[in-house]
């Protein structure tokens, strides 16, 4: 039971703006276990990044309202003294970001930035901290670590910088690592190096990883579980194989059919029509209904009037959709989506 590192229940994040309130994250729940990876998939504006920033206590804006529960390390983080959450950040939970060049401070050396990450949480001498930094940089595959510690971020390559970010995030052996599009800004051969590194480190430290990405290839490669987000909501949650082989939600189908693939015979793309919704004026019914090709298969125009609940298909697989389970498998088979047994 203590395997669950992070448990999020009914998390909502709302921003009050002049145009109205923005429901960036709406009622999202998930769990991440020790040594496992949860991938959060979605397009820009889906709420995938905001939900994680909320977990980290990094939403500082005074017009944000965060509600729900975030259980981490035996504590409830929503509503407690921000100082308590701060003490956990970098120590028990850490985060890496998309663009490692802008995420590292341009004026401080790599060594200074990593040593600081240790000394915030622990009283250790400079030389001891430096020693630990060196070991960690070695571990993440940075050659001649001692020399690199005196260098500045702009002197390193993109892949090297992301290794530094990973070293910084993992230097206090956190239980949870949130990786927000960690390889999106990198070249594909470097992406392969970084994903490999993350996987090795996860094995070694037993870190639970929340991996935020838009790349289904990265999901297939890294994830144990997947949560698909759309319009601030979790529209489908399942173990990784089920998501790819028996997806239950038309948006997930659309994603799978619209990405150019490396391995399929068919080169035809089947894009999702339209554009993602504005988070200020979310549709009354299903958030995906305006773009959904199957909304007419549901009687009474239910899709446009009633928001579907997240309903379970199997013990670990849930989706927000008014289509019946039978309808879904019919459509999947007829449109050749996922793996048809």
């Amino acid at each position: 039971m203590s395997d669950v590192v992070l448990s999020v229940k009914n998390l909502s994040v709302e921003f009050a703006t002049e145009d109205g309130s923005v429901h960036a994250v709406d009622n999202v729940s998930y769990e991440v276990k020790r040594g496992k990876t949860l991938a959060i998939v979605g397009e820009s504006g889906s709420g995938k990044s905001v939900s994680s920033l909320a977990v980290m206590g990094l939403i500082k804006s005074s017009n944000a309202t965060i509600s729900g529960e975030v259980h981490f390390g035996g504590q409830e983080l929503v509503g407690i003294d921000p100082e308590e959450v701060r003490k956990l950040r970098g120590l028990k939970m850490a985060m890496i970001f998309q663009d490692p060049l802008s995420a590292l401070h341009p004026f401080y050396t790599i060594g200074e930035q990593l040593i600081e990450a240790i000394q915030v949480h622990e009283k250790v001498s400079n030389s001891e901290a430096a020693q630990r930094v060196k070991i960690m940089l070695d571990r993440v595959g940075i050659a001649s670590a001692e020399q690199r510690m005196d260098e500045y971020p702009h002197q390193l390559s993109g892949g090297m910088r992301q290794r530094v970010m990973i070293a910084m995030a993992l230097i206090n052996s956190p239980e949870l690592l949130i990786a927000d599009e960690p390889t999106t800004a990198l070249d594909v051969t470097v992406q392969a190096q970084i994903l490999e590194l993350l996987r090795d480190l996860q094995k070694e430290f037993g870190t639970a990883i929340v991996l935020i990405t838009h790349d289904l290839g990265v999901v297939a490669d890294m994830a144990d579980d997947v949560m698909v987000m759309y319009g601030g909501q979790a529209v489908e949650q399942s173990p990784v194989r089920e998501l790819f082989y028996t997806p239950q939600m038309p948006y997930t189908w659309g994603l799978l059919a619209s990405i150019p693939q490396m391995h399929t015979d068919s080169l035809k793309l089947d894009p999702i029509p339209g554009t993602p919704p504005s988070l200020i004026n979310l549709p009354a019914g299903c958030v995906f209904a305006p773009r959904c090709a199957h909304r007419n298969s549901v009687p009474d125009g239910l899709c446009l009037t009633t928001r579907p609940e997240l309903t379970t298909v199997s013990s670990e697989h849930a989706a927000r959709c008014h289509l019946s389970v039978e309808q879904r498998s019919e459509i999947r088979i007829s449109r050749n989506i996922g793996k048809v047994d």
């Binding site: 051969t189 790819f244 619209s258 793309l269």
Partner: protein, 343 residues
């Protein structure tokens, strides 16, 4: 065999590196593009793929003379592009267009969509049938924009729609060639597919040839007929799409393809992959011999001294490598130097 619409030979684009306070002394060159040769046939798509810093974007611009090439020759529709005077070049530009990566910065925010798309008519002094407005509105309709939005400004459109505006502008004068520079990499996945399909349809309808510059191998696979893989300013391998993706012969192509994760968990986790060591060398100081030798697991002394020339290894399959991969033994290599992993 028809004649190529674009014939590029030994194209070079060097950027000088200078030093000094008052008198700038040239101390070297960034060899962004270092000897490209290829043909593009009418109506076909040539993918130009590679990682950042490989020179693919510079190549795209140099072949349209948006950047002045350092050396080499570019023939467009049988005419020598580099020998043209300014006026002739402007006239020729009618037939060759470009679509840019960033749909946010490549459109002037102070001009209406109508005037942006109509600009080519004005610049080139071309009178379309009917009025310019009618022509622009039919273009807008063709690329999937609402023609009633004629008077709106670019900031009122989403990223995908802006890329459609860019496409409408590019096809306004029915060009024979469009260089697309990373046209979908700034877009969300669901929008990316819409734009790719649009490019596909337009090509079929108007018979336009594309040079498609991109870093995303799966996007390039989707759109291209033939693909050239670039590394440090040079073409490593050039062949048909199917050849390249199923049986790459250059070790770099092999590594590049194996680095792309595929969206199928079972296959993704079962497959073997090559993880290249190290980073891209600096293009101002490229390795001697084969530029890929510092990261290649097959490199020998010969690779470190002798530059492999791009040669035709079988019909329509060009490769610049001393030791091409063995087709039959694909994926079986056990040479040390790179990490081969599967999990």
């Amino acid at each position: 065999m028809s004649t190529p619409i674009l014939r590029v030979r030994d194209l070079q684009k060097y950027f000088p590196v200078t030093k000094g306070t008052f008198v700038k002394k040239q101390v070297g060159n960034v060899r962004a593009v270092d000897g490209l040769s290829f043909d593009v046939m009418p109506g076909e798509t040539l993918g130009l793929v590679g990682e950042s810093g490989c020179g693919k974007s510079t190549a795209g611009r140099s072949m349209l003379r948006l950047l002045e090439p350092t050396a080499g020759s570019v023939e467009f529709d049988g005419r020598d592009l580099l020998a043209m005077g300014k006026r002739e070049l402007v006239r020729t530009r009618r037939e060759m267009q470009m679509i840019f990566q960033d749909p946010y910065s490549s459109l002037n925010p102070r001009h209406t969509v109508g005037s942006i798309i109509g600009a080519p008519f004005e610049v080139q002094g071309v009178k379309p049938e009917g009025s310019v407005r009618e022509a622009v509105q039919s273009l807008m309709e063709r690329v999937g924009l609402n023609p009633e939005h004629y008077n709106r400004y670019p900031n009122e459109f989403s990223g995908g729609q802006r890329q459609r505006i860019g496409i409408a502008r590019a096809i306004a004068l029915k060009p024979k060639l469009i260089v697309c520079d990373e046209p979908v990499s700034a877009l969300d996945v669901s929008i990316q597919a819409q734009v790719l399909n649009l490019l596909d349809d337009i090509q079929k309808e108007f018979g336009i040839a594309y040079v498609f510059v991109a870093h995303d191998l799966s996007v390039v696979r989707h759109i291209s007929d033939r693909v050239a893989v670039m590394y440090l300013g040079k073409i490593m391998e050039l062949t048909t799409r199917d050849q390249l993706y199923t049986a790459p012969l250059h070790p770099y192509t092999h590594a590049l393809l194996s680095a792309v994760p595929i969206a199928d968990p079972d296959r993704e986790r079962a497959r073997e992959r090559i993880i290249l060591n190290g980073d891209l060398p600096s293009p101002s100081n490229p390795p001697s011999g084969c530029v890929f030798n510092t990261r290649c697991w097959k490199a020998t002394d010969r690779c470190r001294t002798e530059v492999p020339l791009l040669r035709e290894i079988s019909t329509g399959h060009q490769i610049a490598c001393h030791f091409p991969e063995d087709k039959s033994a694909q994926g079986q290599s056990t040479v040390s130097g790179a990490d081969f992993t599967s999990h």
